[in-house]
Symmetry: C2
Subunit: 218 residues, 2 copies
């Protein structure tokens, strides 16, 4: 078992990689990929606890995403060999404090706080590479309290996985255990304490489920 | 020896923590701390190689900063015990692609690319905690080609180290080996290939020096 959530040293999260999602938040489709970092302290493995909502936010959104787990170190990786650097996948949520993100954007400040709280990167565990036959045709879905909220296919991504690996690795070396979050399809929306969020990959027996609670202060 | 650059899983970099530096870039002094993440792949230990300038930027700035190395895991750390979580320090440069950061800010995008290139976090190594008597009175300096560019004292910080540890840990759990960059004093400016950058802590035998080269593509 590849415990990338215990050993990996970065989470690179790509923004606006599905045109419909860019539009739903009133954003333009980017002409080259952009990304931000989530801290590895935000990992929450399925079955180990609930997603925590910080009291200073009133608008926490779910963003279901396919995560790509890096298997070996590389820099300036070319498009043709990019998939050789992938060891597997994970199903992930890029939890986002949308109200704090909006304030940060209005002030031209980093997105880090809005993306970086503990439990803000729930994951399903490690999916070996061979379990997904065609990674450019994977359907992801996300429901809240049994109501379907997001459903999208990786064939709708603006930049595909080799393009993302290539681009990111021209800026920062990718290392074994690093995770790339590949962006979210449309349908993002709020979750509240007491709700239950469930996500899956169609055709794969890999559903994950998390309770939502209010974060307690020590 | 604490090799936090090999084991640590995050670099939390605080922005605008010296009033004079906030003013020199035309920014307001923040009312609460803000921060961004640099990837651990950007570490460059003194003596192991040069700082690389990516060809897509024409304005790479030095920001000399005191780094705080975390020694044990903590969340919602209170002000009184914050210094118990510190194992030591490092002298660091928060290298910044100022032109790419300005474009990101204008578009309300993350700062990650402008802060995250390989070699963009040069460090002096580990300074044990007891080597610095009063961390609230440490003078940092930085020179380029022998010309003094930055000189500042941690007593000018807007938020002191316990306040930073407390604030960050209310958002993300701090773990052993994590690094906090505490912000830069005024005097930031560009470096170009062929130049030599040197930094130090006054009174401590801990100077570091790096050559600047143009990043080569593989
Ligand atoms: Mg996302
Ligand atoms: Mg960021
Ligand atoms: Mg800085």
């Amino acid at each position: 078992m590849n415990k990338f959530w215990e050993t990996g040293r970065k989470i690179v999260a790509v923004g606006r990689n599905y045109a419909e999602h860019a539009k739903e938040l009133g954003n333009q489709v980017p002409s080259q990929p952009f990304f931000f970092l989530k801290p590895t302290s935000s990992y929450l493995l399925q079955g180990t606890g609930p997603i925590e909502i910080p009291s200073e936010s009133s608008d926490i959104h779910h963003e279901v995403e396919l995560g790509v787990v890096i298997g070996k170190k590389g820099r300036d990786i070319d498009l043709n060999s990019a998939m050789d650097y992938v060891s597997g996948y994970t199903l992930a949520l890029d939890m986002t404090s949308r109200d704090q993100q909006s304030i940060a954007k209005a002030k031209s400040l980093p997105w880090t706080i809005s993306k970086g709280y503990d439990t803000f990167c729930p994951i399903s565990g490690f999916i070996p590479k061979e379990k997904i036959e065609d990674v450019n045709n994977v359907e992801l879905w996300c429901s809240v309290d049994g109501q379907l909220k997001q459903k999208g296919n990786t064939n709708q991504m603006i930049f595909n996985i080799p393009q993302l690996i290539h681009f990111i690795s021209t800026i920062m070396t990718l290392e074994s255990g690093d995770l790339i979050l590949t962006g979210t399809p449309s349908g993002v929306g709020p979750v509240r304490p007491g709700q239950v969020i469930k996500c899956g990959i169609s055709g794969l027996n890999n559903d994950m489920q998390f309770d939502i609670i209010l974060r307690k202060k020590n």
